[in-house]
């Protein structure tokens, strides 16, 4: 079995805040593993502890307890750092530099020689779509352009693991599409991508595996497919001329019934749909549509976050 690229074990982080040094538990013992070549989504509502976890992985924050290993090494280890690229949330860079100068500076920290740096900088600036702005200093960049520069600096060391904190926030739809393409291409290059996002549709589309945390606790760790299986499956039936007693029975058994004159829209649990369709046909009703509906990532996530809040209360 190949070694996991990233391992987080029983990670806890507490902060002492304010004058009274009140203890706040930002991360409460989360564990997960990221395998080679995976696109890994890191989900959670605001304040869930995502950025704290990512900063701990990057050794910007030291854990209260638990361990983080990158390629089997501690996060501060230089060998591990050489293999990781990181885009912080809301990236800020030296605004007196041009994108090429920023990448050149960071390239030096990876020990790249000047020819290699030049080559990578030219390629990366084009790849993230900043070719038109190469002569502008970063202080004249829009938020979306800074995000692109941020992705470029995360890739300057040609890392095996790319960690992106909210990479899609602040980008317009075209920018989002381009960045999603960049992430998808990283997968084809065999790189591992670990990214947090609020935009769940993107996670559903891009990720192999996800971790969901809420209030510092792990709520789910597994494949997107497995997560979606935990969702409710329903069937929507549009019907004309259905007998009133049948509609009343659906309603009394927990189904949803909306009437529009002679027609009705029924929503029932997936396992009960077959029986209902048979009954409607037997009663001579006119079936107009039978549409299966599966709860998407977003709906499931909202429901899960809601449960978390209830539990906290």
């Amino acid at each position: 079995m190949t070694q996991p690229v990233l391992t987080v074990q029983e990670l806890k982080k507490t902060f002492k805040v304010g004058f009274t040094r009140k203890v706040v538990e930002a991360v409460r013992g989360i564990s997960f593993e990221v395998g080679q070549g995976e696109i890994f989504g890191f989900l959670g509502p605001n304040g869930a502890g995502k950025t704290t976890t990512i900063k701990t992985i990057m050794d910007l924050i030291r854990p209260t307890s638990g361990t983080v290993r990158i390629f089997g090494r501690p996060p501060g280890d230089m060998e591990a750092r050489l293999k990781v690229g990181y885009l912080p949330e809301q990236p800020y860079f030296y605004d007196y530099l041009k994108p090429g100068e920023l990448l050149d500076f960071f390239g030096k920290l990876y020990g790249l020689d000047s020819a290699e740096r030049r080559q990578r900088i030219t390629r990366l600036i084009e790849r993230v779509g900043l070719g038109h702005a190469r002569d502008r200093t970063l202080r004249r960049f829009s938020k979306g352009m800074l995000q692109r520069a941020g992705v470029a600096q995360a890739l300057i060391g040609n890392p095996e693991l790319v960690i992106l904190d909210e990479p899609l926030s602040g980008l317009d739809p075209i920018g989002r599409k381009e960045l999603k393409d960049v992430i998808a291409n990283l997968r084809t290059e065999g790189k591992t991508v670990f990214f947090s996002s609020h935009i769940l549709a993107d996670i559903e589309l891009l990720c192999d595996k996800i971790v969901i945390i809420d209030k510092g606790k792990l709520r789910f760790f597994g494949t997107v497919k497995d997560f979606l299986k935990t969702g409710r499956s329903e069937v929507e039936i549009v019907v004309a001329g259905a007998p009133e007693e049948l509609l009343a029975r659906v309603s009394s058994q927990g189904g949803k019934v909306d009437r529009f004159g002679n027609r009705a829209k029924l929503v029932v649990a997936g396992d009960r749909s077959r029986e209902l369709v048979d009954a409607l046909l037997a009663a001579g009703a006119d079936l107009e549509a039978v549409v299966p509906r599966t709860e998407g990532l977003e709906e499931l996530f909202v429901r899960m976050a809601g449960k978390g809040e209830e539990a906290a209360r």
């Binding site: 902060f15 704290t52 900063k55 990057m58 050794d59 910007l60 924050i61 030291r62 230089m78 750092r81 050489l82 990781v84 990181y86 885009l87 912080p88 809301q90 990236p91 800020y92 860079f93 030296y94 605004d95 007196y96 530099l97 500076f105 960071f106 030096k108 920290l109 990876y110 020990g111 941020g150 600096q153 060391g157």
Partner: protein, 264 residues
């Protein structure tokens, strides 16, 4: 070797940041004008005192402007990285925290060397205009000012690694003022009269100050210049070695503090 390369990369970037900063250029220009203004001041005194005025004022202004710039840049150096969150992307690179801090300090030394060079050069210009021959001791005086600035900036970096810029500025300036008095406190401690005789309970405090605080009067040779006393190269190199010792200790302490920090 790689470590040195990374430290130098951070130092070069720190220097570039200052060189492109309008406030720094304005500060440097202000100090330059201040030194040139000694020409005007010298017009107000009788002819035979003019040479003395440009000599004294020039040296004082270089030292004064240098300390102001060292304190301002020193306390903002690390703070700005945290405030602008640029430290996140930097420290996530293959860069040790100590390399970051040492690189920042070296970059700042480069800035202070430029400041000393520009201000020293303008002082020599003023001296030439006033027909004062530029003696070697003037060069030595400027070198010693640089030594003093290296200590002041290291103090600023130490405080800024855990404190706010305003507090760091106040503490650093306080240490500079006390450091300039260490020589006199030492004299008072050995004297048979004065403060420590009338208030002996203050003696331990005075002794602690002279042991802990750097003696910055070592870097001030204005009196020697005035009295035309020779300042040897041995004295200059010993003073610079003294500065280096303090710098190493101060930066090591700053690294220890920085190593434990969370960058939230």
């Amino acid at each position: 070797m790689n470590s040195l390369f990374r430290i130098l990369a951070v130092a070069a970037n720190t220097f570039r940041e200052s060189a492109r900063h309008r406030a720094f250029i304005g500060l440097l220009l202000g100090a330059f004008i201040l030194i040139l203004s000694s020409l005007l001041v010298s017009e107000l005194v009788v002819y035979d005192q003019q040479r003395r005025v440009v000599q004294d004022f020039g040296l004082f202004f270089i030292s004064f402007a240098g300390v102001v710039i060292a304190v301002i840049i020193g306390v903002l150096l690390v703070y700005k990285e945290l405030e602008r969150k640029t430290i996140y992307s930097l420290l996530s690179k293959p860069l040790h925290r100590y390399e970051f801090l040492v690189g920042k300090y070296l970059g700042m030394l480069l800035v202070l060397a430029t400041v000393t060079l520009v201000l020293g050069g303008s002082w020599f210009l003023v001296l030439i205009v006033r027909d004062v021959p530029v003696r070697l001791v003037f060069v030595k005086a400027v070198l010693l000012i640089f030594g003093e600035l290296s200590i002041v900036s290291a103090v600023a970096i130490l405080f800024s690694s855990f404190s706010s810029p305003v507090l760091s500025g106040i503490f650093t300036f306080g240490i500079f003022v006390v450091g300039r008095q260490v020589y006199f406190i030492n004299e008072l401690l050995t004297s048979s009269k004065g403060l420590f005789v009338t208030a002996p309970q203050l003696r331990p405090l005075g002794e602690a100050v002279t042991r802990i605080f750097p003696d910055l009067s070592l870097f001030d040779v204005a009196r020697e210049i005035l009295l035309e006393v020779e300042v040897s190269w041995l004295y200059v190199s010993q003073s610079l070695a003294y500065a280096l010792c303090y710098v190493v200790i101060l930066i090591a302490m700053a690294v220890l503090v920085f190593q434990r920090r969370d960058f939230v």
